[in-house]
Amino acid sequence: MDYFLTEEQQMIKEIAAQIARERIRPVRAALDENEEFPWEIMKVLAQSDLFGLYIPEKYGGFGGGIFENCLAVEELGRACIGIATTFAASGLGAYPILLYGSEELKMKYLPQIASGKKLAAFGLTESGAGSDVSGIRTTAVKDGDYYVLNGTKQWITNGGEAEIYSVLAITDPKRGARGASFFVVEKGDPGFSFGKKEKKLGIRASATRELVFTDCRIPKDRLIGREGMGFIIAMKTFDKSRPGIGALGVGLAQGALDIAVEYARQRKQFGKPIISFQAIQHKLADMATLTEAARSLVYSIARYLDTEPKDFSKLSAMAKLFPADVAMKVTTEAVQVLGGYGYMKDYPVEKMMRDAKILQIYEGTNEIQRNIIAQELNKEYGRMKESFLG
């Protein structure tokens, strides 16, 4: 399939694919087993200029968009979405600054993130606030030239490893949806520490950790945007980042398909390669079709988002929802195609199936994506003059 990539987009894909093939595949099983953070690979990604694909040149980036980033994420995800998540989460941490930060904040932090010298992270979730973001309890109280943060974030990707954190906290409990704000917190800020590191089903090379704020004092100019914009910034960030999760799903599904087809051609039972059985053929055909459909969806939505349209929450949710479900389905089927071998750690598909599950959970569960899509449909059709019932 030819997606009419420009020469530069093709180069991005090639470089990411080379890193996946030569650097990630040989180590993915060990990093997963040992729950080891992929620092070596992060250095390679930095040296190859991939961290700043979506960041403007003015801030040290490549000046591309969501689509360029998706191309890189997909290729990395084809080898390991634990490592690719680590990479992508730095972008999630950068987006609030990129979208709403003051010129000073952008100049200070974006070049460090774009060059890969520092990783970023995004701190929103708390024990009582998952899908319902409004449940957050972390507070930020203004004190002269400072804000003082108190509270605990949980399950923050790149927690403890990143240097730059975009953190959501309540600045005015009385103002409800207008009462939260985003801040940049740096590793090493007084009163900022890290809690427990989670043990996980999948994406075990990625770090998922608590952020603990105990009278954490940060200069007041670390506020992103204005006070009260926190929830808006969170939603706009997700609108931009969700196709990236879709790209992880496309890469993962492709990676599982690659293995399933190759294996089915080699494995013989009843005197024939199992790919000669129609039951296996149909599985592979469905897996390939779903994967390509997910890719087409992610590519076209990512490209559209890069034209800076006004409302795109629905499309962005679709670009996460479908590939995440596809990745879960395709990796599960890949294990089935490999049978007992697929269930063993000797082949990568068992890890791929464990990894796939996260795509349906983080950056808004797939139920939440469906809620978003349905709410937008309701609004869209409510605005329409035409009736289709008659």
Partner: protein, 264 residues
């Protein structure tokens, strides 16, 4: 600090065959690659660029398509490239090649360091580095596995692999080094360098640009000529056993016995 890297484009030997009738390399359909050992030379130079901001220049002598190898080096981060290409360069042995490269290095002066791969996988002579050093009257250290600048970049501390271990040497710059794998894994291209590598102008220098006469280069300037290339005769019979492990083990023991292998 200016580092010059000498590289060579070679046939991908994984796919090379020798025509049994003519005893020549069958080059048709064989892809060209950058000599794998030269990728370590590029890596060594780029490490110096990373640590000291050294300027790096890559050169190769070869036909016009050898430009590909130079562009690959640029995509990895090398600053500049020069292609040494001229009809009269054809048929050069290692001496004539070294002569040509040495003149190019002179033209690129000031040069503080020249790095080559330990050998090229097509000829396997490992001669060009040392010959070039001879022509340039520079010290030469081969099989370098580690290098560190010292004394304000006046000299280098070198680890040189030997059959039994390694030697530690100190060399004053400028010098010629040939490097081995231990120098560091070749890096992956950077996006910015890759984009630059497609567009960057690569000058082509011929014999006249280097001030060399036709009898000093190529076949005419060579002391040696390849008389014959041949593949060694196949080494005896090979058999692949098949069947279950038990069957194969039985068959193996039978073969060993029938060949009077001691102990069977």
């Amino acid at each position: 600090m200016h580092v010059v890297i000498c590289i060579k484009q070679v046939p991908d030997t994984k796919n090379v065959r020798i025509d049994p009738k003519t005893n020549t390399l069958v080059r048709q359909g064989v892809e060209s690659i950058t000599n794998p050992f030269d990728l370590y030379a590029i890596e060594a130079a780029l490490q110096l660029k990373d640590s000291t901001g050294a300027k790096t220049t890559v050169i190769t002598m070869g036909p016009p398509q050898a430009e590909e190898a130079l562009r690959q080096a640029l995509s990895l981060g090398v600053d500049d490239a020069v292609l040494l290409s001229d009809r009269s360069f054809a048929g050069a042995d290692t001496w004539a090649t070294s002569r040509t490269l040495a003149e190019a290095v002179r033209k690129l002066e000031p040069v503080d360091l020249i790095v080559c791969g330990k050998q090229a996988i097509d000829g396997d002579t490992a001669q060009v580095g040392p010959e070039m050093a001879t022509l340039l009257n520079l010290p030469c250290i081969t099989y370098v596995r580690k290098l560190d600048l010292e004394n304000g970049n006046e000299s280098m501390r070198i680890e040189r692999a030997t059959d039994t271990g390694y030697e530690v040497l100190r060399v004053k710059l400028p010098a010629v080094l040939t490097v081995i794998r231990e120098i560091g894994e070749p890096r992956i291209p950077g996006l910015r360098h890759k984009i630059r590598s497609k567009k960057q102008e690569i000058p082509v220098w011929g014999a006249a640009d280097l001030g060399l006469e036709p009898e000093e280069v190529g076949l005419q300037g060579s002391f040696t000529q390849v008389v014959k290339v041949f593949s060694p005769p196949p080494r005896g019979e090979r058999r692949l056993l098949s069947g279950s492990v038990e069957e194969m083990a039985k068959e193996l023991v039978r073969i060993l016995k029938s060949n009077n292998v001691p102990g069977f």
